[in-house]
Amino acid sequence: MLVDLAGGWNPMWGRLAWSQIPYDNPILAPLFVAVVVGAILVLGLITYYGKWTYLWKEWLTTVDHKKLGVMYILIGLVMLFRGFIDGLMIRTQQAWAVGAHSSGVFGATHGYLTPFHFGQIYSAHGVIMILLAATPLLVGFMNIIVPIQIGARDMAYPYLNALGLWLTAAAGALIMISLFVGDFAHNGWFGYAPIFELQYSPGVGVDYWIWTMELVALGTTLGGINILATIIKMRAPGMTWGRLPIFVWATLSANVIALTSFPALQVALALIAADRYLGAHFFTAGLGGNLMLYTNLFWIWGHPEVYFVILPAFGMMSEIFPTFSEKPLFGYITMVLASMAIAGVSWLVWLHHFFTMGAGPYVNSAFSVATMLVGIPTGVKVFNWAFTMYRGRLTFNTAMLWAIGALFLLLIGGLTGMMLAVPAINYMVHNSVFVVAHFHTMLLVIVYAIFASVIYWFPKVFGFKLDEFWAKTMFWLFSAGTVLVFVPMYMLGFMGMTRRLDYVFNTVWHPYLLVMEFGIAVYMLSVLAFVALLYVSIRDHAKNQVGADAWGTSRSLEWLTHSPVPFYNFAVLPHISARDEVAWRRDNGIDHVQPDHYEDIHMPNNTGVAIILGGLTFVLGFALVWRIWWLCALSLLAIVALVIYRSFKGDPGYIITAAEVEKMEKEALRREAQISK
């Protein structure tokens, strides 16, 4: 039943062979050495300082939603950097390989990347940026903030939460290992039928792509269930729907999308796997396969996914604007309705990714109108933010700068999106870099909102603020990079430059490509500024300590508890009386009132099962990629056995006694009193 492979295969090692390690590649081989040296260095340092027990007990086996969130964000930042390096390589190739007389090195006729290698880089860039950078970063913030904002001690299912993190980590590891063992897909991040079929892509690249995305999809679906159940079932007394912080609403709408849309991606990819592993004919050319079935299935997930990542970003902006305008959010209810409307319409627009399929004027018009409808709730949001700032007492803190930057990018991205929603225009610019510039502008809205949130919520998680000077430096460098890279890209799109060119034939475009290359260099400076920001902030952390309400103008419930948040979140669960509870307490002078007595708190135990399951899933993915069947069976069996073992063992949790809580609370209050002096 399994397909016959053209290349070598043996029962022990599957398709693995020494020739699959690209030791002769002049770019990958030095990188591999650097990674190995770096890994030995890090592991050595951990051993030298004797931190393994700490790491295992406090981080790797934790079920604490805040620590899991921090680890999600760390994975997201590492993958964001990897994706950025991919972007830098793409830009460098396009700035270099222009015109017939451009030079070529490392085996490439033009530039320094062969077409096959270039194809892998842009495919990995897309997968990483959307599924392994933006998604974990946003999920990380949801994880940290949502339970505190609704007054819960943890997520509804803390163990499942840890499992979601380790599945995401396994996916990240799988895509990283594809750099050094075998190759990655060259079919673009969303794949095209039938190029991903075994006949046309006989290597393991497409398999890496399939199983990486499957793992992220599984992790995100489980995470979505967890967050939805948390919001619906775990709210503190008095936290009615009308009092829910707006970021929670945004998270809710986003995860309704995640829950319903990710299964479609899982099926689409599983059907490619059926084609490639079992010889099925879902998307083959001939024998009854249907090429456009794949494109439809993929974008039925793909477009909702776009709103899955943008809605939390909108939620973050909706928290930051009121805090630094010292005003309540304008139009709370319309904001909620707009989020839900965007989540609903997200299901009706997928075909605008391929108007050129030739579905005919009626289908295209329907999807065109549906796409334009998205502009209405989004417009409502933009006006709400503008009216929030209108006549407010504005503080141009770096978080606020990032949020305002996001607002401007949303305008540009939204308006170019409206242009692309018109099929007549879409036919002209289809697959041009105009489209690329459009969706990068939209994804940069998310990146801006994420960096705004890093600045905004950092003191809540770690108890001290980030350095303002380096934060501002990073912001301005990043924004300069954005303008320098994407304004020329819009222009090139209108000039007819198509996307994914490993060789640019038209020398007229060269100056624009050089400006973009310069922009990438400026982005690189902003990355360095970010490193400096972290270094300086951690060095000076004693100077920048904060109390519970880090900004003094904060509004929602997470600012009621101490910074850094104790592992039990609230010593006594708060009773909610108002929307913007903290602002309400502050305005009425009761924000320093502490509970008069403490009670026992029941908390879940740490578990090593989640990280082991993540590791086994990685092994399963790797074995599937290389078709090592015995290892697939073994890891699958181990996974099932471990799940059953965990269900027998259960977790009774443990009790923190009232006296212990009181001791910890007194210590936290003493610390806060010192800071305010």
Binding site: M1, V3, A156, Y157, G224, I225, L228, A229, I232, K233, M234, P237, L259, T260, F262, P263, A264, Q266, V267, A268, L271, A274, L278, A280, H281, F282, T284, G286, L287, G288, G289, N290, L293, L297, I300, K327, P328, L329, Y332, R555, V572, L573, P574, H575, S577, R579, D580, E581, A583, R585, D587, N588, G589, I590, V593, P595, I644, S647, F648, G650
Partner: protein, 211 residues
């Protein structure tokens, strides 16, 4: 009036929870599981969509179509096995209400046996197809037919493992909150497989047989 204004008087407001507020463990569990089942439903919806697109005449590429190899009465026997399995599970849950351990075990055992019967009939059917030379590699239409039905069968297979685990847990642990919660979620899962099967039987087997 700012939007966060509340009609609660701040002087007398209750600021901290005094009601010993507890989240209902079983309700949180079953609700989350229900959402998982929704996502599972979306998974099947996508597979049905793929089957719909790949069930035109040209999808079979001149090869065999379900009309050639589907036996409606054979599949009806499968239907009955699965439905009776769900009924047996429901009777077991009825015994749970009376904390009747042997009743629960008997219900689960009957559900297990009938589920195994369903799966055995399915495997027999698939080996029969294979002996005719019909496999996923035959044509796009047959790929969709086999993958959709076998994804359902895989769900049933994992459900059977789960039933076995629950029998062991009822016997060793008794009716703890965790075990009762799992019995309820398994009931939801088992019902969903039967509901999905209704669609598989009607739209894949019967419709395929008729067309």
């Amino acid at each position: 009036m700012s939007s966060h204004a509340s009609n609660v008087d701040p002087k007398t407001a209750e600021l901290w929870d005094k009601s010993h507020y507890q989240h209902d463990v079983i309700s949180t569990r079953t609700f989350g599981y229900f959402m998982y089942l929704l996502s599972d439903g979306m998974l099947f919806a996508t597979l049905f969509a793929a089957y719909g697109v790949l069930s035109y005449q040209h999808s079979y590429f001149g090869g065999p179509t379900p009309a050639d190899f589907v036996k409606p009465w054979y599949t009806f026997a499968q239907t009955m096995a699965l439905f009776l399995s769900v009924l047996a599970y429901g009777l077991g849950m009825n015994a749970l209400k009376h904390k009747n351990k042997s009743g629960v075990i008997n219900g689960l055992l009957a559900a297990l046996v009938l589920g195994v019967l369903f799966l055995a009939l399915d495997i027999h059917d698939m080996t029969h197809l294979a002996s005719l030379g019909i496999s996923v590699a035959t044509s796009g239409g047959v790929s969709a037919f086999i993958v959709l039905t076998q994804v359902h069968a895989t769900h049933v297979f994992f459900g059977l493992i789960w039933i076995l685990v629950m029998m062991a847990q009822v016997l060793t642990k008794g009716f703890t909150t965790e075990v009762v919660g799992r019995l309820l979620t398994l009931r939801m899962f088992w019902h969903l497989q039967a509901i999905i099967w209704v669609f598989v039987y009607v739209f894949v087997y019967l419709w395929g047989y008729m067309s």
